[in-house]
């Protein structure tokens, strides 16, 4: 009897119950709880809000008062005449961006690695990182100006080279749009994306290069037999992330460069469609349904890519 009371006394002393412990560490809880509340409000509440996709949401009735309609908006979206156009644009644009935009920074890093002159290397790095820090508004301004029919530099160049007679209005011709989009994206991000690969290359053991050059391997050969295989794990991790982002064909760039309605057939992707239908036309429920569709496929792609990568021994998680 006395033994048990001692034991319970010791337990309550050494391990006070949850509430008491929580109150004792009020100071550190105060550091995290407001932030967590914030995350709850701005991340978790919208996640719950996706349920508006199953409603006929109206601003006047609010979330709680709007009627439930099941999968109506999903069916409408899948049967919409633009659905296949949007899917094609989304996939083609993001695949093009992946095929061109993914190897480009790796190539840049490989080339920068071959440069012995430090000043030259630094200069190229500084110039090529810079566009990453510019807003898409500025970048689109550059593009509009360079491609303008009104003495844009590209038209001037092509005319001087006698390749064309009349200036081409690049930004109102659907056949050029994808190319412009991909080029601009690469221009903006190539330098910044190369930072990671340069760091990976810097970590390669220099003895490997010495041994290779002893054996008579040229620099070009060393690039492919030493540098590339050494940074392969980094490349794989980034390619998984890129595949998970496959449906993010772009948003700001397409909104800004493809604002011309003539281009809509080739420029409309899932994200811009959600924006246009949802915000500009105020069809909230329908746009949310399209958004959910995109999110579900993205998660599937990421999981699939990770599965393949785990097979090869380079998993994300």
């Amino acid at each position: 009897m006395s033994q048990t009371s001692i034991r319970t006394a010791r337990e309550t002393y050494s391990k006070p119950n949850g509430i008491v412990r929580l109150l004792r560490q009020w100071d550190i809880q105060l550091m995290v709880l407001p932030a967590l509340l914030f995350i709850f409000l701005f991340s978790y509440v919208p996640m719950y809000g996706v349920l508006t996709a199953f409603q006929d949401y109206s601003l006047f009735k609010g979330f709680l008062g709007s009627p439930w309609v099941g999968f109506k908006h999903f069916e409408m979206f899948f049967n919409a005449p633009v659905f296949w156009d949007i899917m094609r644009n989304t996939l083609v644009i993001s695949l093009l961006k992946l095929i061109v935009g993914f190897p480009a920074p790796i190539l840049l890093a490989l080339m920068l690695n071959e440069i012995g002159n430090r000043t030259f290397k630094r200069t190229i790095q500084t110039i090529s990182y810079l566009p990453h820090f510019l807003s898409w508004v500025i970048v689109s301004g550059f593009v509009l100006s360079l491609l303008s029919t009104d003495n844009g530099s590209l038209n001037i160049l092509l005319q001087k080279l006698n390749l064309i007679e009349e200036p081409i209005n690049f930004l109102s011709m659907p056949e050029y749009f994808w190319g412009i989009l991909v080029t601009t994206g690469v221009w903006k991000e190539i330098g910044f994306a190369s930072i990671v690969y340069l760091a990976a290359i810097a970590g390669v053991d220099p003895h490997l290069y010495e041994a290779a050059s002893m054996d008579g391997a040229s620099r070009f050969r060393q690039m492919f037999t030493i540098t590339l295989p050494s940074i392969l794990p980094v490349v794989i991790v980034f390619s998984i992330l890129a595949i998970g982002n496959l449906l993010n064909a772009g948003f700001e760039d397409i909104l800004l460069l493809g604002s011309n309605p003539i281009l809509r057939d080739v420029s409309d992707v899932l994200d811009t469609y959600v924006y246009r239908i949802g915000i500009e036309n105020s069809r909230y429920s329908y746009a949310t349904a399209a958004g959910i569709f995109k999110a579900v496929i993205s998660v599937g792609l990421l999981a699939g890519a990770n599965y393949v990568a785990r097979r090869s021994g380079n998993s994300l998680w």
């Binding site: 949850g18 550190i28 914030f38 440069i115 009104d150 003495n151 620099r219």
Partner: protein, 297 residues
């Protein structure tokens, strides 16, 4: 070590390719700058590429006399300063709390945070939330929703956890509270990570044009980037209109030497200069910052 013939070819090829790349990266800036310093009516005659032909500050005069643009500039600065200071402060306090081993619920909190990095409600539910919160058309809509960044929290946390534990212990022995330790020891010693994340946050705030575009309709509250976007957009419209009715627009252009193109170039330069000013000083930090970020991925 002597270079072999093949290596020389490779080396020259790489130098040439990088020169071309450097040129294409640099030319758009240079050309926009040149056009902004050239007389608008002269630019219309064409051929402006590397150097202003009729140097003029008139475009900038017009920009700096335009009250709407100056207002936009002020709003952008206010937003960037307030947004960056508050975000960095709130996120670093949060991150410091999350380093504490004794924090009850730490694991759950962390999972709840990481979950938001992979899943989100998307554009429309967030938009409706902002509406219901009554944040539409307020300056704070540009600051509040981004106040806590999970990504930055994780980077801060990794940095704090890498600091020697002795620092904290000795301060505790001297009687500092947890908050005291954070503000007197941890925060002042976090220079590099503070610089990197402040840079990224500030660039985000300076460059964001989309959120104000959908949440704010009051023109006086729009930052410079959103105003610039509207100007560029109306330029496209004008270009299309002028095709149909060229006589009217050329008449308009004769009245002044500043054209819509030269004016928007000058505005673009004004909106870019702050970034160009900060950029060289923080370059060494952001390279480090990117690497911390990618390690955490």
């Amino acid at each position: 070590m002597k270079l072999s013939g093949g290596d020389k070819v490779l080396s020259v090829t790489i130098y040439v390719l990088l020169c071309i790349l450097g040129f294409t990266a640099f030319y758009p800036f240079w050309n926009a700058g040149v056009v902004s310093f050239n007389l608008g009516t002269d630019t219309m005659k064409g051929g402006i590429t590397f150097w202003p032909r009729a140097f003029s500050l008139e475009n900038y005069e017009v920009v700096f006399k335009d009250k709407r643009l100056i207002d936009g500039f002020v709003i952008s600065i206010l937003r960037t300063v307030i947004g960056t200071v508050l975000t960095i402060l709130a996120t670093s306090i949060f991150a410091y709390g999350m380093t504490k081993r004794e924090l009850i619920g730490r694991k759950f909190y962390m999972i709840a945070c990481i979950f938001t990095m992979y899943f989100s409600g998307g554009l429309i539910p967030s938009y409706l939330l902002i509406r219901e919160l009554g944040l539409m058309n307020s300056f704070w809509v540009m600051v509040i929703p981004g106040l806590i960044s999970v990504w930055n929290m994780i980077i801060f946390r990794a940095f704090f956890m890498g600091m020697p534990a002795g620092l904290e212990e000795s301060a505790k022995i001297d009687g500092s509270s947890n908050w005291g330790v954070f503000f007197r020891i941890i925060f002042p010693l976090s220079g590099p990570v503070l610089a990197t994340l402040s840079l990224f946050t500030a660039v985000y705030h300076w460059n964001d044009w989309f959120a104000p575009g959908i949440y704010i309709s009051n023109v006086d509250l729009l930052p410079i980037q959103t105003k610039l976007q509207q100007i560029l957009n109306s330029n496209i419209m004008n270009e299309q209109m002028s095709k149909m009715d060229s006589s009217a627009s050329s008449h308009l252009n004769q009245m002044r030497s500043v054209t819509s193109k030269s004016l928007s170039m000058a505005t673009m330069m004004v909106a870019t200069v702050p970034i160009l000013c900060v950029y060289p000083f923080v370059q060494k930090y952001f390279v480090k910052g990117v690497l911390i970020g990618s390690l955490k991925e």
